[in-house]
Every structure is written in C-alpha cells, then in structure tokens.
C-alpha cells in the first residue's frame, strides 16, 4: 500500500521536477514559436549539457552548478552556426525540410555520443545530488530544490527578455509576422539565429541539471525531447507562464505515475498524457501554416 507520505513527497518532487522541465521546454517552445521549427535535436542538446556537466566535474573539478552559465553559453555558441549553415539556407522550403535536417543532426549527435562516451549509464555525483532535504515528515532530494530554483529563475528571466526588452519586441514581431517585421526593419534572420541559440542554451543548462538529478545515457535525447515537447503542447505556444504551469503538471503526473504504477511507467504516463492532449486539444497555432 502506498502511504499518504509517499504521495505527498512524490507530489512535491513532481512540482520541483516540473520546474526543471519548464526550462528545457521554454527553449523548445521559443524555437517552435519563432522559427516554426520542431527542433528534433533539442534532446541531444540536453545530452550535451549533461555530459558537459559530468566532465566539468570529473576532469576539471568544477562544480557543474558554477559551470552552468559556461555550458549554456557554449551551447548557444555551437548552435548559432548550426542555424546559419543548416537551417537558414532552407528558408522558403516549408516546415519539413528544416525539421528533417534537425533529425539528421539528431542521428549524427546521438551516434557521436555513442562513439565517444560509449553506452554506459552515467550520473553527475556531487554532495548535493544525493542529499535529502527534510520538509516536515516528507523528504526530497536537495538537487530537485536547487534545480527548481535555478530553472524557474531562468524561465522568469527569459519571460522578462521576451516581454520587456528590445530583442523581445523583435522576437515577438518575427514570430507573429516575419514579413511585416522585416519591412519595419527587424533583422529577422538575426532574431532567428539568436532565438535558436537561446533555445540551445536552455537545453544545455537544463541538461546539466537533469544530469545532476538523474542518470543518463548517450541515447537519452529522444525521451528528453518528448518530455519537453509534451510540456510545450500542454502549455501552448507563446506563453512562458503557460509553459511553467504545463511543466509542473507533467512533472506531477510523471512523479505520481511512477509511484502508483511503478518506476518503469514514469515516462510512459507523461507520453500518454501528451497524446491525449494532442487528441483533445490539437494545437491551433500551426494549423494551416505548413
């Protein structure tokens, strides 16, 4: 029998996890909303973040949390040329061509990870990644709390970036009507490149946090991608707050599913929810725009 305490702690863990999900989902959502691109390689960017955190600690001895800004910046810098040389030249060729190109990137990266890192399961071991934090009668892993705070702060900053800054204004304009935005002087291509880089930065930071909380393998990318995508679909495009709420919902559903049905069903439960949401509420924003 599962006691109320187990349920309560899994609820709290779910909320904390959900905050972490929302950071990576915001990255995917921005790219989808602004570039109309399903970045199928998003999960691979998370895997890069996870390995970067792992090697930062094991080789250089740097705490992955301190390295977080460097990892995010590194992914942004690496993603910009990907956009410039692979995605931008496909402009005007419909939505499928860039998506399948990113699928190619997924295949390449996943197999490079397998070659370089081998198929071993890894996790980033720090003093706080295993320590528990007691809240009254329930206890949760300290890393979940740290991850939640960092992720939600980052999501809030991105929200401010999108709603309050000049870049955010250009971004929203490019998202709503790229042609009109270009006419009034917005450099749409530059906005797209920066958005793509920002998306990769979110993935990198989220990947490191995920690597601190859970073990990962070179093939974790697909499940990372689907997790983020489920959050994006549930939260709707263009709303950072919606993504946060959706992230927490998915986190709670996963966590409860894992406790009630068994750990093997964690991801499956979230994916079924995702398919149900797709069925009940097909996303309208991209309808008719192919």
């Amino acid at each position: 029998m599962i006691g109320p305490e187990a349920i309560a702690s899994s609820l709290i863990v779910g909320v904390l996890l959900g905050g972490m999900f929302s950071l990576t989902a915001v990255g995917l959502s921005l790219v989808l909303g602004v570039l109309r691109l399903v970045n199928l390689a998003h999960g691979e960017f998370l895997v890069v973040g996870a390995y970067a955190g792992f090697y930062l600690l094991s080789v250089a001895g740097i705490d992955p949390l301190l390295g977080l800004p460097v990892i995010a910046a590194g992914l942004a810098l690496a993603a910009a040329p990907l956009y410039r040389y692979l995605i931008a030249p496909l402009a005007g060729r419909g939505a499928e061509a860039p998506m399948m190109t990113m699928f190619g990137v997924l295949i390449v990266l996943q197999n490079l990870f397998l070659l370089v890192f081998h198929a071993d399961t890894r996790s980033i071991e720090t003093s706080y990644s295993t320590a528990a934090l007691s809240l009254g009668t329930v206890s949760v892993g300290r890393i979940y709390v740290i991850g939640f705070v960092i992720s939600v702060t980052a999501v809030a900053l991105i929200h401010l970036l999108v709603t309050r800054t000049e870049f955010g204004r250009d971004l929203r304009a490019s998202s709503e009507d790229p042609t009109a935005a270009a006419i009034v002087g917005v450099n749409v291509r530059r906005v797209h490149m920066l958005t793509f880089a920002l998306g990769a930065a979110c993935a990198g930071a989220g990947g490191t946090l995920s690597g601190l909380a859970f073990s990962f393998t070179p093939s974790s990318g697909a499940s990372y991608l689907l997790n983020s995508f489920a959050v994006v679909v549930l939260g709707g495009l263009g709303s950072v707050l919606g993504t946060l709420v959706a992230g927490i919902t998915i986190g709670v559903v996963q966590s409860l599913g894992g406790v009630l049905l068994g750990d093997g069903y964690r991801d499956a439960v979230a994916l079924v929810l995702f398919l149900v949401v797709l069925t009940v509420r097909p996303p309208g924003l991209l309808a008719g725009r192919r």
Binding site: M100, Y265, L278, P282, R290
Partner: protein
C-alpha cells in the same frame, strides 16, 4: 513542400522504371539466393526489408506529406504479432503475416483520430511519442515478455525461403506503390499533401485519404516487422521498437528521393550497402547516414534519384555542332 520543378524532376526520375523493369527484377530475385550464397543472401534480405519500409514510408512522407518518425511502432507490432500467433495458434505462416499486417493497419486506425488531426510538425512528433510509448509499454508488460522479449517456438525458415518471403512482400508493396503513383489515388494523395484545405473544398476528404495511406503504410511496415521477427527467431522490445527503424525508413527515402518511385530503391541500396561496408562500426554508419541526410536536404532536395535524372538529362542533351 516540393516546387513544380522538383515534381518535374521526380517525374523524370520515374521514367526509368516501369512494370517491365520491375518484372525483370523480380524474376532475378527468384534465382538470386542460389547465386549469392549465404553472405549475399543476408544482405539481399536486409535490402528487401529496407526497401519495403522505404516504399511504405514514401507512401506517407512522399506522396501524402505525412512525415512519420513512428515506423518502429508498426514494425514492432508486426513482429510481436507474428511471434504471438505462431506460438499460440496453428495458423499457416502466410496467413500469420497477413494478420500481422492487419495488426499494423489496426494500430494506424486506432491512433488515427489522435495523430491525423494534427498537421505537419505535430503529426511527426506524435508518431515519435507513439513509438516511445509502445516501446516503454512492451518493456514493462510481463505478458509480452517484458524487457527480455519473446522466443519463437519453431525454427525459422532457411535463408533462401526468407528471401523469397521478403521478395513476395516487396512485390505486394511495389504493386501498391505503382497503384498509388499511377492511378487517381495519386491525385488524391498529392492534393492532400499540397493543400489540405483546398483539397477539402473540391470534395476530397483529407482525413479518409490520410487514414487510407497511414493504414496501408503501417500494414506494410508491420508485415516487414513480422518477416524480420521470423528471421530473428527471438525478439525484444529494444530492437523491435527501436528508433533505428524510423531512422532507416526516413533516411532511405530522403536520400533516394522523396515522393519518387525510384527514390526508395536508390536510398535502400545506399543505406544497406554502406551499412554493410561499415558493419563493424554501426555508429559511424548511422552518423554518416545522418550527414548524408543533411547534405541531401540542403543541396539535392529531390534526392539522388533527381540528381541522377538531372545528370542523365544533361548527358543526353545534344551538343551544338560548330558550323
């Protein structure tokens, strides 16, 4: 997505094949196993299964515009259906493969209300999610053998017979491909692909057209999965529901030529043969396939089929004779 010139290039590429060439090729397949020996027959079998998957995927992605990342769903269902039916019933093999194919079609019909209402990008991610859900379910359901899978309780047929079975399946899929590419059905598929809304206004029912294409493609993929499982003799969820199937099907078609009839043939040959050359380095092979996919998307959107057609047309163009 393809422009008119692309379509013309596809048509040009299509001119090289035909029922006659196909008949000759299938005739050659009848005697192939005795000529090729064991090693060659292994490769031939892999090529035939790959080609069936590519043709089925092309029906969806090329003709109907539904880019699927869920090939493994149907392949896995077909494989499990075959092992289950052969182990628990006394049905003849041919009927079991047909039933496995029907299982694939049933899966498509079951998820169609969810997936086919989604357009373009969402369909793609939906199929990926479905594939992942099925894999996770099969890993966890002890009834279907869980993570260790199921073992076929009878001996798999000998290799030559497996090649014939795969060839028969390819014949079925080629006939379907010809029917879809030449008949009024091709108009329906292309109308839905190019503009669903306009198609609906002129009286086409996009959902029905997409459902038909999805069900037929899934049936072929499930049959391919069934034949693959028959050869393996033992199946497990990681392999049967592996993303690898989806990667193979998509990359074969895109590299060969999306929406062209010759495309899957060229793509399957390139992917299977390069895989054989790099048999000891599967990761390198897949990474290179990914690179090729990216390069083709960027520089040759019509795939190698269109590229070949272009080169042949250029070579045939009469040279201007100086006076």
């Amino acid at each position: 997505m393809p422009s008119t010139t692309d379509v013309e290039k596809f048509r040009a590429a299509g001119r090289f094949d035909g029922p006659l060439a196909a008949a000759v090729a299938f005739g050659a397949l009848l005697i192939a196993p005795s000529f090729l020996g064991d090693y060659g027959s292994q490769i031939l079998f892999r090529f035939l299964i790959g080609l069936v998957l590519a043709q089925a995927w092309n029906l969806l992605g090329g003709y109907t515009g539904l880019v699927s990342l869920g090939t493994s769903s149907a392949v896995g269902v077909g494989g499990y259906a075959l092992v289950g039916l052969l182990n628990h019933t006394g049905l003849p093999l041919a009927l079991v493969i047909v039933l496995a194919a029907l299982g694939g079609a049933a899966l498509a019909a079951l998820v169609a209300p969810a997936l086919l209402r989604l357009r373009g990008l969402y369909f793609t991610v939906g199929t990926l999610a479905l594939a992942e859900v099925l894999r996770l379910l099969m890993i966890n359901l002890e009834r279907f053998g869980g993570a260790s899978g199921l073992i076929l309780e009878r001996d798999p047929p000998e290799l030559a017979r497996l090649v014939y079975i795969a060839a028969a399946l390819l014949l079925a899929s080629t006939v379907i491909e010809f029917a879809c590419a030449r008949s009024a059905a091709s108009l329906l598929l292309r109308a839905v692909r190019d503009d669903e809304d306009v198609a609906a206004q002129v009286g086409v029912r996009p959902f029905r057209v997409k459902l038909a294409a999805f069900a037929i493609a899934s049936a072929l993929m499930a049959a391919a999965g069934a034949v693959q499982a028959l050869k393996l003799g033992a199946i497990e969820p990681y392999g049967m529901f592996s993303l690898r199937w989806s990667v193979d099907a998509l990359s074969m078609v895109v590299i060969g030529g999306l929406g062209s009839r010759l495309g899957p043939l060229i793509g399957a040959a390139v992917v299977v043969l390069s895989g054989e050359l790099l048999a000891d380095y599967p990761e390198v092979h897949l990474a290179l396939t990914g690179v090729l996919l990216i390069v083709v998307m960027r520089f040759a959107p019509g795939g190698l089929a269109a590229l070949a057609a272009l080169l042949i047309a250029r070579a045939r163009r009469p040279r201007r004779v100086p006076p």
